[in-house]
């Protein structure tokens, strides 16, 4: 009792100290100062369980909501699941900083917003300041690290004064505001090429005043037409489609000119005109205001406006009559050019021949020798007709209507060493002069065998035509007939009607001798002639026709005397026709006149 009272007295004596407050192990930090006092212990502490996160988060709902939304540093893997008090202790004095970390080494990535570029060296408080915090309650807190959004616009002024939206990171990096290195002009509606790549941005993106501040204009810039930015140095004379001629590489570069649709002018480009350099026609060193105007209103057929007349005026000015745009020489229209204006009027086949066959030099108008055919044509005959080393001109024999037929007449042929006559007159030239496909006129021989085959070789004794002298028998008139062979040279001299008989009547052709049999012929009449009398006149098995018949024409029995027969003709018998007595009977199927009568009684003939 005495001790208790002593204790009580001592406690009372402790100057100005409230017992209840003395349980605290130390002053709470300024932020928690309102929680001082024994009645507040359980605001943070759980009896028997130290300090619970639930108690902390019951007040710090801004942290709680961040954790629940898995955002911010407190939701990071480093912090998640830790006791609040393990980092944010208290009872360390009023001035104790409950939130402290090394600002230099703090891994800001854990907050969900990694610091990159210039952010890495920026003072923390440059961003973490009330001005940048939107939340009204957090904004009022001093020294809070909470409340910052991750959008650039939350800390940075909009350098574009709302004209490009809020997604700054589309173009800018954290390293530097300028240049906007992530901005890719190629992804815009106006990709930069050529000189546009090197031109200063402000040349196109002029400064404008937005919300009282000068900012470069990046949006709503007209670019559909070059004239949106560029002046038209052509004074609007060439239209507004600048890119038809110009490229972004250079205003004066002519590469783009190929895109110009010249066909929209009064002078559509065709053929080679489409490939020719513009300044081949147009004057290049004109001022922009007059460029390409120098050839205005020139008609398409006025070639001389640009082209020099290589024909020196000789062929007139209607160049297009001969030339096309496909090329001065090439594809010249031969149907349009009137060659007859030249000293070499085209006739015959010359009218259809390709110009280049003759005009082989560069220029059509190059002097071309044309007085002789040989100037163009090769001598097919290879000097066959040369006399004293000089060939006559083709025109002696040929006309422009064609090499064949030749102008070489029979009269002309008659002047040669082989005048034509007889059948040769009707023989086509090629029969003698064409060997294979080669016409030959010289040294082809003038003997028959030079052209004709000796078909009698081996048949007719050569003593009758020594050295194959066909002319011994044949004439040029015909192979057959007009034969001048003297048959009397043979052992069978021809007489009488034999002289008038065609050779072939006796020298008959057969399969073995297609040109007639001339050797080994029998001389008996019956060898050639048929015996129509049967064996009526046969003697010793031979019938000698010459006893009655001569070689005279007609088979008159010249040598027969009826009076020498057993029945000499007298009286009227001498006047009666032979056939009145010598009747024709049919013996063995052959009609035969019976000349040898065996009965001479009158009644044998008369009734």
């Amino acid at each position: 009792m005495r001790i208790a009272s002593l204790l009580f007295a001592v406690l009372l004596l402790l100057p100005g100290m409230e017992l209840a407050a003395q349980i605290s192990p130390g002053d709470l930090s300024r932020a928690h100062a309102q929680l001082e006092g024994i009645s507040n212990c359980t605001q943070c502490h759980v009896l028997g369980a130290k300090v619970s996160n639930d108690k902390c988060l019951a007040c710090h709902d801004e942290i709680k909501s961040l954790i629940q939304s898995k955002a911010g540093y407190h939701a990071s893997r480093d912090v998640r699941g830790k006791e609040c008090a393990s980092c944010h202790s208290d009872h360390h004095g009023r001035n104790f900083a409950m939130t402290r970390f090394d600002e230099e080494t703090f891994n800001h990535r854990l907050t969900g917003y990694e610091l990159t570029g210039a952010h890495q060296t920026t003072d923390c408080r440059a961003c973490h300041q009330p001005d940048n915090i939107n939340d009204r309650e957090l904004k009022a807190r001093s020294g809070t690290w909470l409340g910052l959004e991750t959008r650039c616009i939350d800390c940075h002024d909009d350098g574009h004064q709302p004209s490009l939206g809020n997604d700054c990171a589309q173009c800018h990096t954290t390293t530097n505001f300028s240049p906007a290195s992530k901005f890719d002009h190629a992804k815009t509606d106006f990709p930069l090429v050529g000189q546009h790549l090197t031109v200063a941005c402000k040349e196109c993106h002029a400064t404008e005043i937005r919300q009282g501040k000068p900012v470069p204009k990046f949006s709503n810039i007209a670019f559909a037409n070059c004239n949106s930015c560029h002046d038209d140095p052509h004074n609007s004379q060439l239209g507004t489609s600048c890119n038809q001629c110009h490229t972004e590489q250079s205003f004066t570069a002519t590469a783009g000119l190929s895109r110009f649709n010249h066909n929209q002018t009064g002078f559509p480009l065709k053929g080679r005109h489409r490939r020719v350099d513009c300044f081949s026609c147009h004057q290049a060193n004109l001022p922009a205001s007059r460029i390409f105007q120098d050839k205005a209103f020139i008609p398409t057929n006025d070639c001389a406006a640009c082209h020099a007349d290589v024909h020196a005026g000789k062929l007139g000015t209607a160049c297009a009559d001969c030339h096309t745009e496909e090329g001065f020489r090439g594809r010249m229209d031969p149907y349009k050019f009137d060659h007859n204006r030249t000293s070499f009027a085209l006739a015959g086949k010359h009218q259809a021949v390709d110009c280049r066959k003759c005009h082989v030099s560069d220029r059509m108008t190059d002097p071309l020798p044309h007085n002789t055919c040989a100037a163009c044509h090769q001598d097919y005959h290879q000097g066959d007709f040369a006399t004293a080393g000089r060939s006559p001109d083709c025109v002696e024999c040929h006309a422009e209507t064609g090499f064949s037929p030749s102008l070489f007449t029979l009269e002309d042929h008659a002047k040669t060493a082989f005048p034509l006559d007889g059948g040769h007159l009707a023989t086509p030239c090629f029969a003698c002069h064409l060997t294979g496909d080669k016409w030959r006129f010289k040294d082809i021989g003038n003997r028959c065998v030079d052209c004709h085959e000796d078909v009698h070789k081996g048949e007719i004794n050569t003593k009758y035509y020594p050295l194959q002298a066909c002319e011994n028998c044949h004439v040029t008139t015909a192979w057959l007939g007009d034969n001048k062979f003297d048959h009397n040279q043979t052992t069978f001299a021809l007489q009488g009607e034999h002289l008038n008989t065609a050779c072939a009547a006796c020298h008959q052709q057969d399969a073995e001798k297609p040109h007639g049999r001339f050797a080994g012929l029998a001389q008996a009449c019956t060898a050639c002639h048929e015996n129509i009398h049967g064996n009526q006149f046969e003697k010793a098995g031979q019938t000698d026709c010459t006893r009655c018949h001569s070689f005279a024409a007609g088979w008159e029995a010249t040598y027969f005397n009826h009076n020498l027969t057993p029945f000499p003709l007298t009286g009227k018998h001498a006047e009666v026709a032979c056939s009145a007595c010598h009747l024709e009977t049919v013996v063995q199927g052959v009609a035969t006149v019976t000349y040898k009568l065996e009965r001479f009684e009158c009644r044998d003939c008369h009734e």
Partner: protein, 288 residues
């Protein structure tokens, strides 16, 4: 226990306290040097903080040492059956050891952070320790039997006479010198000044007296052991003289001392209970 053994025993106990103090001091110097507002961010805060692995352990160990020291010694004094377990003097010495080592541990348990109700307990402990040191001084000024009973003045006078005789019997010293020396020894302490200054001045006079005896004996070619014995006896005599001289004052002081030592110990213990109760209530159970 011989005098030498006792000295080793005392030396060991003192060494433990001193070594533990300096070990803990150096072990946690950087932490304890850190201001209170910075300590949370000290890399070893969780080790050194009062509720830390070491800090809390020190508190528990220190408390147990003090409780054992206090209640063990009280029990020794109160319960007769403990009389046979060693002499009270040694228990007191062990009481002093435990209650010195305990506060050292408690000191480092606080991590030199003195605030709140528990600081009352701490400062009470400091008062108790300080009063213990003073009490120890007063205590030895009151001569006692080996069992610790206080000697009466008559018993003391008898002791003094025995001492004087034994001093005379040392031999080798002329009787006139003895008398001279004894006269000197009986020199009264200075009367002016307060008790503490008188005690201090008397201590200086006594030292001079002993020195004088030593010089005198050396002049008489007294053998060294004799000189040592003589000076020992003289010191005892002077000490006894002083105690007899101050006996009354010390007895009075000792009565007052109890009033300081015990209540503060009780305050300390009372608040300790509150402190432990609060600690446990909020779930701080050290390693358990």
């Amino acid at each position: 226990m011989t005098q030498t053994t006792h000295r080793i025993y005392i030396g060991t106990l003192v060494s433990i306290v001193v070594l533990v103090f300096f070990y803990l001091l150096f072990h946690g110097l950087s932490y304890y040097n850190t201001s209170l507002e910075e300590r949370f961010y000290h890399p070893n805060h969780d080790w050194f903080k009062p509720s830390g692995a070491m800090g809390h352990g020190l508190g528990i160990a220190g408390t147990l040492l003090i409780l054992i020291g206090v209640f063990g010694y009280r029990a020794k004094k109160r319960y007769r059956w403990l009389a046979r377990f060693g002499r009270l003097k040694y228990w007191l010495e062990f009481h002093i050891f435990l209650c010195s080592l305990g506060p050292v541990l408690i000191l480092f348990h606080t991590a030199f952070k003195f605030g709140g109700i528990v600081s009352v307990s701490f400062w009470s402990m400091i008062v108790v320790v300080a009063s213990g040191i003073v009490g120890r001084f007063i205590y030895v000024q009151i001569p006692r039997t080996i069992e610790g009973r206080e000697l009466s003045l008559a018993e003391l006078q008898q002791m003094k006479n025995q001492l004087s005789m034994s001093l005379a019997g040392v031999g080798g010293v002329a009787a006139s010198n003895y008398q001279d020396l004894l006269t000197r020894a009986q020199v009264k302490a200075p009367q002016e000044g307060n008790l503490l200054s008188r005690i201090i001045r008397k201590y200086g006079v006594d030292r001079a007296t002993v020195q004088e005896l030593k010089v005198t004996l050396q002049q008489h070619q007294t053998p060294r052991p004799k000189i040592r014995e003589a000076t020992y006896l003289l010191r005892k005599e002077l000490s006894l003289d002083n105690r007899i001289e101050r006996l009354h004052v010390m007895q009075k002081l000792f009565k007052y001392w109890h009033v300081a030592h015990l209540p503060f110990a009780l305050i300390m213990l009372f608040i300790l209970v509150i402190h432990v109760a609060i600690t446990l209530a909020f779930g701080y159970r050290w390693i358990f």
